[in-house]
């Protein structure tokens, strides 16, 4: 499959700014510039930003109007008899969908139509609850969210909408948590697969970075939630969280290396790093291991989706490996190393209470190293500072966590300071070397 152009507005805007410089220096011809302009659709960049703003405004307006309509109806709800109530519920839903369809496909106001359809999906959820009230339908609280998610999923595919897809993630996650904790913990194992199968292709088809990334976030949340529900304990939550984080990071590296939907890569890598960093940081505290409850050892179904996530992550890295350059390979290995360290922390807990704390701290330091290294090599300030802040937080946390002598603390701080200084000097040297190469 041939690599595709990066569709990110930020990237295209930066590239557009560079075109005159490249032409002026003789690097790019006018004909080449014209081809790039056509390929990256530079003329649409301004329009896309305006469209996004319009979509946000219309969605907000629809939410406010929908909320107003619901409040107005609620104010008179008790005075209305059952038949008109039901008619009102169905009528409101259809009115939003008809108006949404008209604006989206017929009148040239697609963003307004999209917003009205999204509002219709919210009304659909409210209607399920209200119909259950009118006819005294009792049942599990999470059932509403499950049914809501199914209806909204169909609509998100029908209108190719990322925002209704996000609503599916939220509602289905709520359903899964309730369902798994209501004696269905084994059956709930299918949830991560369903989420991936139903939403990732949609995000791919409509090229939605937000939906794609949030679907991975849904998977990252679902895996530890399943482990907790099945084990009735939080003992293996870290491994499940790390599996989701690793998957996201690895798939992100795949997109970046292969150029397939390249714009999906960076958000996924950042999400994966954030998930692993959160897990490693939380479990770097010794008290997390002292209170650890491993739960029922016979409940291992959560390992199926977690194992599949890891296998998919490894497959993504293996597939992208030939196309990765040196630094990308080091980052991919960093992802694997962090995941392995986090997984090693758990069995080490059975032998020693101190070892897992050391391992998770080490994993956290590797994550910080990857972030700082990536920030330097890719000249991305945000990730560089995120890594620096992370390591600083880690050091400060250990400072307050352990009651050691001030002398030891002073040695630790001086060492950290020296290491930071060495890193700064290395960074400066790197910049000088780069400048020399450019000149």
């Amino acid at each position: 499959m041939a690599p595709e152009p990066n569709r990110s507005v930020k990237f295209r805007a930066a590239l557009k700014r560079e075109i005159p410089v490249l032409i002026q220096r003789g690097i790019l011809t006018e004909e080449g510039a014209s081809k790039i302009t056509s390929l990256y659709e530079f003329d649409d960049i301004g329009k896309e930003s305006s469209r996004l703003l319009a979509a946000v405004l219309f969605t907000l307006a629809s939410l406010l109007i929908g909320g107003g309509v619901i409040s107005f109806v609620a104010a008179h709800w008790n005075e209305i008899s059952r038949g008109p109530k039901v008619a009102l519920l169905f009528g409101t839903l259809l009115a939003f969908y008809i108006a949404g369809y008209w604006f989206k496909y017929r009148s040239g106001w697609p963003r307004l139509g999209h917003a009205l359809i999204f509002c219709g999906c919210l009304i659909f959820g409210a209607n399920i609850g209200l119909l259950a009230q009118i006819y005294q339908v009792s049942g599990s609280w999470y059932g509403l969210f499950g049914v809501w998610a199914v209806g909204v999923l169909l609509m998100s595919w029908a209108v190719r909408s990322w925002i209704t897809g996000v609503l599916v993630i939220v509602t289905s996650l709520v359903w899964m948590v309730g369902f798994a904790n209501d004696y269905h913990e084994r059956l709930a194992t299918v949830y991560p697969f369903l989420l991936a199968i139903t939403l990732l292709p949609l995000a791919w088809v409509i090229r939605s970075r937000v939906l794609y990334t949030l679907t991975f976030l849904g998977l990252i949340c679902a895996l530890p939630a399943l482990a907790i529900a099945q084990l009735s304990a939080d003992g293996y939550m870290l491994i499940a969280l790390a599996a989701g984080g690793f998957l996201s990071w690895a798939v992100g590296e795949f997109h970046r290396a292969t150029g397939l939907r390249e714009e999906f890569g960076t958000p996924l890598v950042n999400l994966g790093i954030a998930a692993l960093a959160s897990g490693a940081f939380l479990w770097s505290f010794k008290h997390m291991w002292h209170w650890l409850d491993l739960g029922d050892p016979n409940q291992f179904y959560w390992l199926i989706p977690a194992g599949c996530a890891v296998a998919a992550g490894v497959a993504a890295i293996a597939r992208a490996w030939p196309k990765m350059d040196g630094s990308q390979r080091r980052f991919a290995l960093g992802a694997i190393m962090v995941f392995v360290l986090v997984c090693l922390a758990m069995p080490s807990y059975r032998f020693n209470r101190v070892l897992p704390v050391i391992i998770t701290n080490l994993a956290a330091l590797v994550i910080a190293g990857v972030c700082i290294g990536r920030g330097i090599l890719e000249e991305r300030r945000l990730i560089f500072w995120a890594g620096s802040l992370y390591v600083a937080t880690l050091v400060i946390s250990r400072f307050f966590e352990y009651e050691s002598s001030l002398l030891l603390k002073s040695v630790a701080f001086i060492l950290c300071g020296i290491i930071t200084m060495i890193a700064g000097i290395a960074y400066e040297r790197f910049l000088h070397r780069r400048e020399a190469v450019v000149q």
Partner: protein
Amino acid sequence: MNRRTLFFLLAVAAQILILAAVPAQKIYTRATGKSVMLKIRPVDPYNILSGYYVTLNYEITDPSSFPGAKDVSGNLVYAIIEKGSDGVWHPVSLTNSFPANLPENRLAIRGRYNYWRTTYGIEEFFIPEDKRDEIEKGLRENRDQARAEIKVDSKGNAALVRLLIGDHVYDN
């Protein structure tokens, strides 16, 4: 009709069907079922109202109300109830299969059994916001006189119709 219009219509139709399916069983049971009056058991006075609904406990909710309930296995159960001289229906037995040829004064209600509690889908009564205080007070003062009118269809499905607390009747 183009494909996107067709898909949109199908999605809307599916949502309408889902909405219709939510109360369908209750509507059918209300229309075709036999009226039954059940005694409400005193509920935890500190947890009568959960949000906008009353949590109801019946005699038949407690499996120990049925002789031989320990022999029941599995999740799906049928509670056999009998009409008493006071007009209220009382528990007789709990079984795993739908009983055939019940006498006129007996009925079977389909429920879900989980060892300490059996639920029949009639445990929550949704109430309007302005009646919350009144119902809560009524339930506290008439803990032994509260009744629920339900309907039971030919398959044993139950639907909650109204709540009777003292002299008041609450019908949503």
